[in-house]
């Protein structure tokens, strides 16, 4: 089956405009007859459900959390990009588009990315109208900051809680539609299966997580807004409940999985402190604007950071990348940290960490502040106090969080940081209309693969989630549903629903009947270890081949030895987790296959065999300038389809930050 991305013809700048003015529409009376199911209530899901509800569709929204407001979009710290050019620094739709394609290491679709940049400005307008309290200047206008090493200030933010504020905005819009009766909300419900009738997605089987009951829900279309799958690594910055199950079920029903191996490892996270670690916490990328990253020059140096003199420190990013220094993109910074630790220069008890040091910034800000106050002869202690106050104002909440978790005072001793899995650029393959290869089944936000290529730029995830939900799906949905207005709601006693429910129920029964000895958590940890070691920041053919075998063995072990206490028909978090881990195991195998297939290094995907002599990533544009879309063909059987990436406007070049 050739993949048709359905990118509209015409020049880049007019593709979306043309699409919007020529797509089919559904009249209001018909919209009321059309039912849409939305899975997940993060930025993409909540904004889509709210917008579709406002338009008059009958929407059912599902989330596994106790409230739609808890979706993990809420944890995003830094900000949201938009090509507003409010700072008059030369930003434009084209520049945002260009930065995103380049940052993604030329593995994203031009058409999609341009549309993303184009609607970005409307997102800010919409959010402000909803009452999202973005940071403002004294004049009352919106404030911006630069982020992730871009040359313009296009990031809108609300302190270090931008994701929370945007999600609350979308959540409120969603709850408004609930109160108006346009959206029915199902909290503590998990999607267990996509129901297809005549090849079209027509509903889902959901499980009420409180009672354990299975429910059948019909929809003319199904939207998956279920987020990313970083938890396949066990340890990640994702929430504990973040999972791939909805997307994986869709994959097994025929939705291709795009670029599964593209994982973003964020360079500045609080390092693992022991085997008990259940998740990793991100320290916003903005810290790299002021912090200096270093390790001791001597291997296995056990002195305290403050006892190591300046000349015995290796500021390795500044050394290797003099042009960008500590501000190199995420993938580059992460790999460099790993390289130093692997060589034995790591710090802290685990030796798997590097220092992020604010001492220089504190003194620099302190001096500026002292001069401002006319204290030209201030001693070091006074300068330090003044500097600490400035740093506190900029990063206070992050420093506080660091101290809560580690018990160390980052004003006095350098932070210890290490890279951690953060975001997955891969996801369900979708066309320009966000439809997967299953008609009627869509994927939005992090759940799809479309806009970030092989590496996502900071502050772009929020932008994409909201772009898909507020501004893309309302149009593309209509274009497809216009042909469906004669389709009456299909009763859920249809054979397809009955069969799907039985399959789900059989699977649950099977899980419960194993009654083995090993906990779900233990399997998840094992999977995470394999993935992190062999399909993590650096990958090679040998490791990936081993990983595939190990994961297959783990899968067998799981299905013969997992122990799930409790019953089916009750609130049973262990059972919920078991279903998710079972899917992660299968996904892990596919990720390794994809990583093995891609014989190049690009963005977050670093194959050790493909690097320049000085250790930088080396793309193979002639061979791998395509989206790897995998089709499920049965257990451990996946067929690769390729969607060639055509760059009409931006011409791929080797990224250099030296």
């Amino acid at each position: 089956m050739p993949l048709n991305s359905k990118i509209p013809a015409g020049p880049l700048e007019s593709k979306w405009k043309t699409y919007k003015s020529t797509c089919k529409l559904v009249n209001p009376a018909n919209k009321r007859q059309l039912e849409i199911i939305v899975i997940g209530t993060g930025l993409a899901g909540a904004s889509a459900a709210a917008s579709l509800g406002e338009m008059g569709y009958k929407v059912k929204a599902f989330c596994f959390q106790d409230s739609p407001r808890r979706a993990h979009s809420i944890a995003a710290q830094g900000g949201i990009n938009a090509a507003k050019n409010y700072q008059n620094d030369g930003d434009s739709t084209y520049r945002l588009f260009y930065d995103t394609v380049k940052g993604g290491d030329y593995r994203a679709r031009e058409g999609n990315v341009y549309r993303l940049a184009e609607v970005s400005a409307s997102i800010i307008d919409q959010c402000v109208a909803q009452g999202v309290p973005f940071a403002r200047e004294y004049g009352g206008l919106l404030s911006n900051r630069s982020f992730g090493g871009t040359q313009v200030q296009r990031t809108f933010y609300a302190a270090g809680q931008t994701g929370q504020q945007l999600l609350i905005g979308a959540y409120q819009a969603l709850e408004r539609q609930v109160s108006l009766g346009n959206v029915e909300m199902y909290s503590r419900h998990e999607m267990m299966e996509v129901v297809k009738i005549d090849g079209v997605a027509r509903g889902i089987i959901a499980r009420n997580l409180v009672t354990g009951e299975l429910e059948r829900h019909f929809g003319h279309a199904v939207l998956l807004c279920s987020g990313g799958y970083g938890n396949v690594f066990y340890l990640s910055t994702n929430a504990m409940g973040s999972n791939v199950s909805a997307a994986w079920k869709a994959h097994k029903q025929g939705a291709f999985f795009g670029n599964p191996c593209f994982t973003q490892i964020h360079p500045t996270c609080i390092p693992v402190s022991g085997d008990h670690q259940s998740k990793l916490t991100l320290m916003s990328e903005s810290l790299r604007n002021d912090g200096r990253i270093w390790v001791p020059k001597q291997k296995g140096d056990n002195r305290k950071a403050t006892d190591i003199p300046e000349e015995e420190r290796d500021y390795y990013l500044e050394r290797r990348y003099p042009a960008f220094g500590n501000l190199v993109p995420r993938d580059v910074a992460s790999r460099a940290a790993k390289e130093r630790c692997d060589e034995g220069y790591g710090v802290g008890a685990s030796k798997m960490a590097v220092y992020l040091d604010f001492a220089a910034a504190i003194m620099r800000y302190g001096k500026i502040e002292a001069n401002k106050q006319g204290q030209h002869n201030a001693d070091a202690a006074a300068v330090r106090t003044l500097g600490e106050a400035v740093v506190k104002e900029k990063y206070g909440n992050l420093f506080e969080m660091y101290e809560k978790i580690t018990g160390e005072d980052p004003y006095k001793v350098p932070m210890r940081i290490y890279p951690a899995v953060h975001y997955t650029m891969g996801g369900l393959w979708v066309d320009y209309e966000l439809m997967t290869t299953v008609p009627g089944l869509y994927a939005l936000g992090e759940a799809n693969f479309s806009d970030h290529g092989a590496n996502r730029l900071g502050a772009s995830a929020l932008m994409q989630g909201l772009a898909d939900g507020y501004f893309v799906i309302p149009y593309t949905m209509g274009n497809n549903l216009a042909d469906d207005i004669r389709t009456k709601a299909i009763p859920t006693d249809h054979a397809a629903f009955v069969a799907a429910e039985k399959e789900v129920s059989d699977r649950i029964n099977k899980l419960m009947s194993i009654k083995g000895k090993t906990s779900v958590e233990a399997f998840h940890k094992k999977l995470g270890k394999i993935m992190w070691e062999k399909c993590g920041m650096a990958r090679n053919a040998k490791g990936l081949t081993e990983a595939i075998a190990e994961i297959q063995a783990l899968k067998k072990e799981f299905w013969s030895d997992v122990r799930i206490p409790g019953d089916i028909n009750e609130f049973n978090p262990e059972l919920d987790k078991a279903g998710r881990v079972a899917d992660f195991i299968e996904l892990g195998e596919l990720m390794c296959k994809d990583a093995l297939n891609r014989n190049e290094s690009c963005g977050g995907h670093f194959r050790e065999e493909y690097q320049t002599p000085d250790g930088e990533a080396m793309r193979q544009d002639d061979l791998y300038s395509y989206v790897a879309a995998w089709e499920y063909k049965g257990e451990s059987q996946e067929e690769l389809h390729k969607e060639e990436l055509i760059f009409d406007v931006v011409h791929p070049s080797q990224r250099s930050y030296k």
Binding site: S51, E54, D66, S67, R69, R70, H72, A75, K84, Y86, D125, Q126, V128, A129, Q130, G131, P133, A135, R136, E137, Y138, G140, L141, L142, A158, A159, Q161, Q164, Q165, Y171, Q172, A173, E175, R176, V178, S179, M185, A239, G241, S273, G274, H276, Q277, S278, K279, M401, K404, I405, T406, G407, F471, S519, E521, A522, P565, G566, E570, F571, P573, E574
Partner: protein
């Protein structure tokens, strides 16, 4: 950071479901590292229970970085435990020492019925938001974001109110099980912005009505909510809600009241 290990006694509320009668069960956990978070200590307990083929303790949690508002434990008499401005997931075990006994209960309020063990149903909060905790603007209606400058101080105050994570600690800590801090945070967030102006009065009235319908107790200005709020939402928001509510009632026309 120096760390140590400890053995602890946990007295945890167990309740099979909403209809069953609950009670405390005592557990011993060993070799808990001072570097663990409180929930990681519960992970250890649950792994131990699974190994013994017993049912693990159910508790709500998700982001484990203090922002989603899912975690909700009442620890030794304190909502989210003893640390100031803190959620359960961010409480770390260095707070405790070897041999300590820790009593863990669910949020207790009739408006937050127990689902299982430490998990409660907080959907009442969603229904309060449904009653009016929004600005009625459809997608696509918006004007340019900078067409309406907003006094920075008001924007900052609005933001401070908007940082509420909806965890319910205010209700759990309040001797009256009042939800005023939660409601007032939302009313303040929106009332302080010009965008929230058109629905300002109706919003306050409707949300308060819904709060009463849900069966939360009445505010008597005790202040335990503010003291236990992980995000430091101020009691001044309650004063503002009272002002909004009183002015809406006095100005009956626009509320239809």
């Amino acid at each position: 950071m120096e760390h140590n290990t400890m053995n602890l006694t946990l007295k945890v509320w167990r309740q099979k479901n909403n209809k069953a009668k609950g009670g405390f069960e005592t557990f011993n956990v060993k070799n808990i590292s001072s570097e663990m978070s409180f929930l990681e200590m519960f992970d250890v307990l649950n792994e131990q229970l699974v190994a013994e083929n017993k049912e693990p303790v159910a508790f709500d949690h998700d982001c484990r970085e203090g922002i989603c508002g899912a975690c909700s434990m009442y620890i030794n008499g304190r909502a989210h435990g003893p640390w100031h401005h803190n959620t359960t997931c961010q409480l770390h075990m260095r707070e405790y020492k070897d041999g300590d006994t820790i009593v863990v209960e669910p949020w207790r309020a009739d408006s937050f019925p127990v689902i299982k063990d430490l998990v409660v149903d907080r959907s009442a909060f969603d229904r309060i938001i449904q009653a009016g905790g929004y600005i009625s603007v459809n997608t696509g209606n918006a004007v340019d974001a900078n067409s309406l400058p907003i006094d920075k101080q008001k924007a900052d105050e609005s933001f401070a109110a908007a940082t509420c994570i909806g965890c319910g600690a205010c209700v759990a800590a309040c001797p009256n099980t009042s939800a005023m801090l939660f409601v007032s945070a939302k009313v303040s967030h929106l009332a302080l912005l010009p965008q929230g102006e058109p629905e300002r009065q109706l919003r306050a009235v409707k949300m308060v009505e819904q709060m009463d319908t849900e069966g939360f107790g009445s505010c008597t200005n005790i202040g335990a909510c503010e003291a236990e709020c992980p995000k430091g939402i101020s009691l001044e928001n309650i004063a503002r809600l009272n002002r909004e509510y009183i002015s809406a009632i006095m100005d009956g026309d626009s509320t239809g009241a």
